[in-house]
């Protein structure tokens, strides 16, 4: 009996360890590719060429960037709260990493199918704001502090509509497991059954990842660089990469919950999954290079006064329709 339990734990652990290693690799490479993609998208939207010298189409450019950033001095300003200051950039990666564990990349390609998958993602994605707060507070800089406080207010405001829009999907699929939700979309994707929920979810995602037009925590024209004003070198790069990884995770979650995850004809599931995810990421890039930034009170008003009642109504309507 005990032997069996040890066996199961052992197998699980090895599976999780291998899975985590792979996820880590995927995230890092994806984030680097995304920095390249952002430059390319921005370039073409702004009628210029963007990176093209390093490697074919400038594809090796992120590697060059990372090497450059590794060579930079990691300056520690005199008056920072050292433990917090050092912890911030490291902590920001953890939630993203854990979130990927429950994402099904294909029918059989998933690190762990937890039966409360959505809860895991929601719980951990809320953590990233903590590291922003730590970084902003630890920097001992007014701009950083304002930036991190903005981030907290923003995340609280957008977490609720995000959660409510997800609940509508859970109502329909009767499951919290990511894989079962994907399987429930065999016939029709939830984006067609729940368009309002998808819209709310995606807007909230953009806000959660601090992207334009909701990039207030780092709005450079107001707060210089927001919560990472005092960070340099590789520590800054970690924040920079974390932004792209969190874009990736919210897009992956949106794909899983609304766009049928790995489902799709002919091509293997992984391709469909990644294709849909990157399409959503591209949408976010598109937003950034098109819209100006909203003001802080407008941002909060939009969430509390529009998104939240709307998501409530959507939820009630979904529940009523399902029961009828």
């Amino acid at each position: 009996m005990i032997d069996q339990i040890i066996d199961i734990i052992g197998v699980l652990n090895i599976r999780v360890a291998i899975g985590l290693a792979n996820v880590l690799g995927l995230i890092t490479i994806s984030a680097m590719v995304l920095t390249w993609a952002e430059r390319k998208v921005a370039g073409h939207m702004q009628r210029r060429i963007a990176a093209k010298e390093v490697g074919p189409f400038g594809l090796i450019q992120p590697v060059a960037d990372v090497i450059k950033l590794l060579g930079k001095e990691m300056l520690t300003p005199a008056d920072v709260e050292k433990p917090l200051y050092y912890l911030g950039p490291i902590l920001i990666f953890v939630p993203v990493l854990v979130s990927f564990v429950v994402i099904p990349f294909d029918a059989r390609l998933q690190v762990m199918d937890v039966n409360v998958g959505i809860l895991v993602i929601l719980a951990f994605s809320s953590l990233s704001v903590l590291s922003i707060l730590i970084a902003g507070w630890g920097s001992n800089n007014k701009y950083s502090l304002i930036g991190s406080i903005r981030s907290v207010a923003q995340n609280i405001a957008y977490e609720i509509p995000l959660l409510l829009s997800l609940l509508a999907v859970v109502f329909m699929s009767n499951s919290l497991s990511m894989k079962e939700i994907v399987e429930a979309q065999n016939d029709v994707w939830y984006v067609f059954k729940q368009p309002i929920a998808f819209l709310i979810f995606f807007i909230a995602c953009v806000a959660e990842t601090n992207r334009t037009p909701f990039d207030l925590p780092e709005g450079e024209s107001e707060l210089v660089a927001g919560y990472h004003t005092e960070y340099s070198g590789m520590r800054f790069a970690l924040f920079f990469l974390a932004e792209y990884t969190s874009m990736l995770i919210v897009s992956a979650v949106a794909t899983t919950l609304f766009l049928g995850g790995y489902k799709g004809p002919v091509l293997p599931g992984v391709v469909w999954f990644l294709g849909k995810t990157y399409f959503l990421v591209f949408l976010m890039l598109w937003f950034r290079w098109t819209f100006p930034r909203v003001r802080f009170d407008q941002l909060l008003n939009f969430s509390w006064k529009i998104l939240m009642p709307l998501s409530f109504l959507n939820l009630i309507a979904t529940g009523a329709l399902l029961k009828l």
Binding site: R47, I146, L216, S221, E222, F291, P292, R293, R295
Partner: protein, 520 residues
């Protein structure tokens, strides 16, 4: 108006002067005691304080007040003579808000004390200075005055804190520093700190001859160097009586308007970057590049052109210039549609700008604002129409005016001004006469006759005035620059009070400041 002044201010000696020669209509001598009454009279009659400065005539100091009217042009120069040692004058900062800074400036450069002035701290100069720089001869700064140098210490309380917006901040566009007292995200008070780019151009002018000063004005406002260049050249021409040939006038108009468009385009990009939209910046620079190429073809430089000479131009334009300008006009009209779709129709942009940073009509007068800032508040005040210079009277154009005075209106005004400029260039190009581009017999070393002259042009940021006093020698006795951004910036502390920091950044952007021009 003249009768009214005579009736209400009978004790003053008033003399009419020739406007085309001197650039102002009336000269008045007021005593120290009468000046408050004079200022009150002009304030009551809707005049604004165009400029306030000091001239050192060694035997006495002269405070010069320029009053002007927004509707019909009527410029009055009022003079107060002061004793050279320990000069004092009453402050008028409670009547005209802009005088607050003008008086501080006079105090630090000439040592004139203004009684009851709320804060005579130095505006531009740094701590190490021991004499008043614009006085002729050395006048030591007394010890109690030196204590005013540098900025004061700021006390933070539990709920409020101070933030230095600048001098190195992405949205101050240059080295403007604004000390902001904040309560959370809200601004309680804002105080601009000037002088980070102060180069004392007015003193430089007194130390070199007229031709040597030619490159300087362009360095004051590097975004509209031609307009500044033009203001200087026309002032000197006015005082020396040089007649400029028609062709040169037209070319001056065309190049100045091209410069205006390039300045507005750069503002457009930078302003949207302030609001967080980064793409319009690149679009605007793409168009601006065209203008720079055209201007480089005739002037030889891309930013600080010193293209105009006394009596004409550095060189004539060719067919290539005309063709290039025509091609640009054609292209720019199409591009304006793109800007319209990308920016003007954007909901986020409108929400950010509508009803924010409202400047009332009376306020713009008290602050002496000009340019798109005043036209956004419903005053059709444009030097190109009111005091036509170069070839503007031969071109047909309308002054765009908006009514609300908010950021959106200032934006719309500037976009419409690009259209206006395109029209002016188009019609000026059509009418461009043949002939010489330089006046004959302009001496290498100019020695203008004794006297003073005031001349204004409309720079992209507003009314740019030059006051020149010649003592008959090769160098000016005093050259005063009335710069538009100075008075426009002065409104910022009042606009920023009680708004969010994001709005303050938008307001600062909408004023279109060029810091080296303010600091001079």
């Amino acid at each position: 108006m003249l009768e009214k002044i005579r009736a209400e201010l009978p004790e003053l000696s008033i003399s009419e002067v020739s406007y085309p020669e001197r650039g102002y209509h009336l000269a008045m001598d007021a005593g120290r005691e009468q000046i408050l009454k004079v200022v009150g009279f002009f304030d009551k009659n809707g005049f604004y304080l165009e400029d306030l400065f000091c001239v050192d005539y060694v035997e006495y100091l002269e405070l010069v007040y320029f009053f002007n009217n927004h509707c019909g042009l009527f410029r009055v120069k009022t003079v107060v003579r002061l004793e050279p040692d320990k000069p004092t004058a009453p402050t008028i900062s409670d009547i005209y808000a802009i005088a607050h800074w003008y008086e501080r400036e006079i105090h630090e450069f000439f040592g004139v004390y203004f009684e009851n002035h709320p804060n005579l701290a130095y505006l531009f100069l740094h701590d190490g200075l021991d004499s008043y720089p614009l006085r002729k001869g050395t006048v030591k700064v007394p010890e109690e005055d030196r204590k005013l140098l540098g900025s004061g210490a700021y006390k933070e309380s539990e709920d409020t804190f101070f933030v230095n917006l600048g001098p190195q901040h992405p949205s101050t566009h240059g080295v403007l520093r604004v000390v902001i007292k904040m309560d959370g995200e809200y601004i309680l008070s804002a105080e601009p700190m000037l002088g980070y780019l102060h180069r004392m151009h007015e003193k430089m002018a007194e130390n070199r001859n007229y031709a040597q000063f030619l490159p300087n004005p362009g360095r004051m406002d590097y975004l509209s160097a031609l307009n500044f260049n033009l203001a200087y050249v026309e002032t000197v021409e006015k005082i020396s009586g040089i007649i400029v040939p028609e062709r040169a006038q037209y070319i001056r108009t065309i190049t100045c308007e091209l410069n205006r468009i390039s300045s507005h385009l750069l503002w457009l990009g930078a302003f949207l970057a302030d609001l967080g939209g980064l793409t319009p910046f690149l679009y605007a620079f793409d168009d601006r590049e065209n203008i720079l190429d055209i201007l480089e073809g005739v002037t030889g430089s891309r930013l600080t052109y010193s293209y105009f000479r006394f009596g004409g131009l550095f060189n004539d334009v060719d067919e290539k210039f005309a063709d290039g300008t025509r091609a640009f006009l054609e292209r720019m009209w199409k591009r304006l549609d793109i800007y319209d779709q990308l920016i003007t129709k954007n909901v986020i942009f409108i929400n950010r700008t509508k009803g924010v940073g409202i400047l009332e009509r009376d306020m713009v007068r008290k602050f002496g604002c000009s340019g798109p800032v005043i036209r956004g508040s419903g005053v059709p005040f444009d030097m190109r129409k009111l005091e036509p210079y170069a070839a503007y009277q031969h071109t047909d154009f309308e002054i765009p005016v908006a009514q609300n005075g908010d950021i959106l209106d200032r934006y719309m005004i500037r976009v419409k001004e690009i259209e206006t400029s395109l029209r002016i260039i188009g019609s000026a190009l059509e009418k461009l006469p043949a002939g010489p581009f330089n006046a004959e017999k302009v001496p290498k070393k100019l020695k203008p006759p004794k006297g003073d002259v005031y001349h204004t042009v409309e720079s992209p940021r507003g009314q740019l005035g030059v006051y020149l006093v010649s003592d008959g020698s090769e160098t000016p006795h005093r050259m005063r620059w009335r710069v538009p951004s100075y008075s426009n910036l002065m409104t910022f502390p009042f606009l920023a009070q009680g708004v969010l920091i994001a709005d303050a950044v938008a307001i600062l952007g909408s004023l279109d400041l060029v810091i080296p021009e303010i600091d001079r």
